[in-house]
C-alpha cells in the first residue's frame, strides 16, 4: 500500500492534468489541481526557511570559514521577516488589506527598490565581462576542436555586440548580426528546443506510466 498509493495518486492526477489540455471541457479541474499544488508549495517554502536556518546556523555555531556571512544572511532574513510581519499586523489593525501590506508595505518596498534591485543589477552587469574573459580563456586552453569553437564563439559575440552599437552607422555589420540571429542561431536553437521538448515529454510520460517514481515509497 505504501508503495502503490503515491504511484496511483501521481498517475491519476498526472493523466487528469494532461487530458485537460486536449479536452477543454474539464479544464476547471486543472485549475483546482494547480491551486492545490500552490498550497503544497507554500508549505515547502516554510521547510526551505528552516533549511536556511539549519545550514547557516550550524556554520555559525561551529565557526566554519565564512561563518560571518552566514550571520549576515540570517540577521538580514530575521530583519526582513520582522518588518514584513510588523507591516502586515499594522495593516490588519488599521483595517487595510493585510495580505497586500505584508509584501508591499512602505519599508519592504524601500528595501526591495534600494537594496535588492541595485545589488542584483550590479551582479548582472558583470556578466558580459565574465563571458568575454571565459571565451578568451577557452581560446587559449582548449584542444584544436575547442579552439575552433572558442574562436567562433568569440567572433560571433563580437559581431553581435558591435552590430547592436549605434555609435557608428555600420550597416553591413548590422545586417550580418541580423542574419546570424535569424538563420544559424535560430536553426540551432530550434534543434535544441526540439530535443528538449521530446526529453520533457518522455520524462513526463515515464512518470505517468509509473515507470519513474520521483515520490517516496
Amino acid at each position: 500500500m505504501k508503495r502503490v498509493a503515491p504511484l496511483v495518486v501521481t498517475m491519476v492526477f498526472g493523466w487528469l492534468t494532461l487530458v485537460t489540455y486536449f479536452w477543454p471541457v474539464i479544464a476547471p479541474a486543472r485549475y483546482i489541481l494547480v491551486e492545490l499544488a500552490v498550497i503544497i508549495a507554500a508549505f515547502a517554502a516554510i521547510l526551505g526557511t528552516f533549511n536556511v536556518f539549519h545550514v547557516h546556523g550550524t556554520r555559525i555555531f561551529r565557526q566554519r570559514p565564512g561563518w560571518f556571512y552566514s550571520f549576515v544572511l540570517l540577521a538580514s532574513m530575521g530583519v526582513v521577516l520582522v518588518i514584513g510581519a510588523w507591516e502586515g499586523v499594522t495593516a490588519m489593525v488599521l483595517g487595510q488589506d493585510a495580505a497586500r501590506q505584508g509584501v508591499s508595505g512602505e519599508v519592504m518596498l524601500w528595501l526591495y527598490q534600494y537594496i535588492l534591485i541595485p545589488v542584483q543589477a550590479s551582479l548582472a552587469a558583470l556578466l558580459p565581462f565574465l563571458l568575454a574573459f571565459a571565451a578568451y580563456r577557452t581560446l587559449r586552453m582548449r584542444s584544436a576542436s575547442g579552439t575552433v569553437g572558442g574562436a567562433l564563439f568569440l567572433i560571433t559575440a563580437i559581431i553581435v555586440l558591435l552590430g547592436q552599437v549605434p555609435l557608428f552607422n555600420l550597416t553591413p555589420l548590422r545586417d550580418l548580426r541580423e542574419w546570424i540571429i535569424r538563420v544559424p542561431a535560430m536553426a540551432g536553437m530550434r534543434g535544441i528546443l526540439l530535443g528538449v521538448g521530446l526529453g520533457i515529454t518522455a520524462t513526463a510520460l515515464r512518470v505517468l506510466m509509473g515507470a519513474d517514481r520521483p515520490s517516496s515509497d
Binding site: 571565459a134 515515464r206 515507470a211
Partner: protein
C-alpha cells in the same frame, strides 16, 4: 480540438507507445547500444573520485521546482542525483546539492534519504547536504559560487533550469579547476556555460541521464523512442522546407 492540439495528442500517444514497446524489448534482454554522450559518461564514477580525494561532489538543480512548467527538468536533475546517491550513501560522503526552489529541496532530500535507507545507513543521512540557497536566480548563482570557492569540491554538475546567471557558477568552477558537466533546458544558459564547462549536455542529453546511468529497460526504451521521433520530425521539417523552396523556385504560391 484544434489542429495543434491534435498534433500534440498524436505526438504524446506515439511517444508513449514507442516507450512501452521499446522498453518491453529492452526488458527481454535485447539491449541496444546507445550513442556515446561524453557529458553523461564522465558522471559515472565521479562520486568514487570524490570519495578518493576526500572532497564532495556538487550538484546544482537550478532554479526550477516541482509543479510548474519546468518540472521535467527538475526531475532530470533528480535522476542524476539518484544515480550518484547510492554510491554516496554506501561510503558516507554525501554530495552537496543546491536548489533555488523549496519543492526541489524536499524532493532532493527525499532522494538522498531513500538512498541512505537502501544502503541501511540512515544514521549517515544529513538533510543539510541539500541546501536551499536563494529563491531567485542571481542570488542563487552568487550563493553557489561561494560554495564552490569556499568548500572542497571535486566536481561541479549542473542539471535543471538556469538563466544567463549560470555563467557565475561555471566561471567559479573553472577558477577552482574542478571538473564540470552541465545541462540546461534552455538555450541561453547553454551559450554562457560553453566557455567554462568541460562537458556540456545539450538539448535532450540532460533528460537522457537516467537511461545512461541507471540502464533500466524503460529508460533505454525511452531514449530510443526519443531518437526515433526526433529523426521523424527532422525528416518532416526537411521535406517541408525542401517543398517550400522548390515551390518558390518554380514560382508557385508560397506556403
Amino acid at each position: 480540438m484544434d489542429s495543434s492540439q491534435i498534433a500534440g495528442a498524436l505526438l504524446v500517444v506515439a511517444l508513449g507507445a514507442l516507450i512501452a514497446v521499446l522498453g518491453g524489448i529492452a526488458w527481454t534482454g535485447r539491449r541496444p547500444t546507445l550513442r556515446p554522450l561524453p557529458g553523461l559518461e564522465i558522471l559515472r564514477g565521479q562520486q568514487d573520485r570524490a570519495i578518493e580525494s576526500g572532497q564532495s561532489l556538487h550538484l546544482s538543480l537550478g532554479t526550477s521546482g516541482i509543479g510548474g512548467g519546468n518540472t521535467a527538468a527538475t526531475l532530470a536533475g533528480l535522476a542524476i542525483l539518484e544515480s550518484l546517491a547510492d554510491e554516496a550513501a554506501a561510503t558516507d560522503t554525501p554530495p552537496t546539492v543546491t536548489v533555488a526552489d523549496p519543492t526541489a529541496l524536499v524532493m532532493a532530500q527525499d532522494v538522498l534519504r531513500r538512498a541512505y535507507a537502501r544502503q541501511g545507513n540512515m544514521a549517515g543521512y544529513d538533510p543539510r547536504a541539500v541546501r536551499y540557497v536563494a529563491a531567485s536566480p542571481l542570488p542563487y548563482a552568487a550563493g553557489v559560487s561561494d560554495i564552490l570557492s569556499s568548500e572542497e569540491t571535486s566536481a561541479n554538475v549542473m542539471a535543471g533550469v538556469f538563466g544567463p546567471e549560470a555563467a557565475f557558477i561555471t566561471e567559479e568552477g573553472s577558477k577552482q579547476a574542478v571538473l564540470q558537466a552541465a545541462g540546461a533546458a534552455d538555450v541561453a544558459p547553454l551559450a554562457v556555460m560553453y566557455p567554462s564547462v568541460n562537458h556540456l549536455m545539450i538539448g535532450e542529453e540532460m533528460f537522457a541521464a537516467s537511461g545512461y546511468m541507471d540502464n533500466l529497460p524503460v529508460h533505454t526504451g525511452s531514449l530510443l523512442a526519443q531518437d526515433i521521433i526526433r529523426w521523424l520530425l527532422a525528416a518532416l521539417l526537411f521535406v517541408a522546407s525542401a517543398g517550400a523552396l522548390l515551390q518558390r523556385l518554380w514560382g508557385g504560391p508560397t506556403l
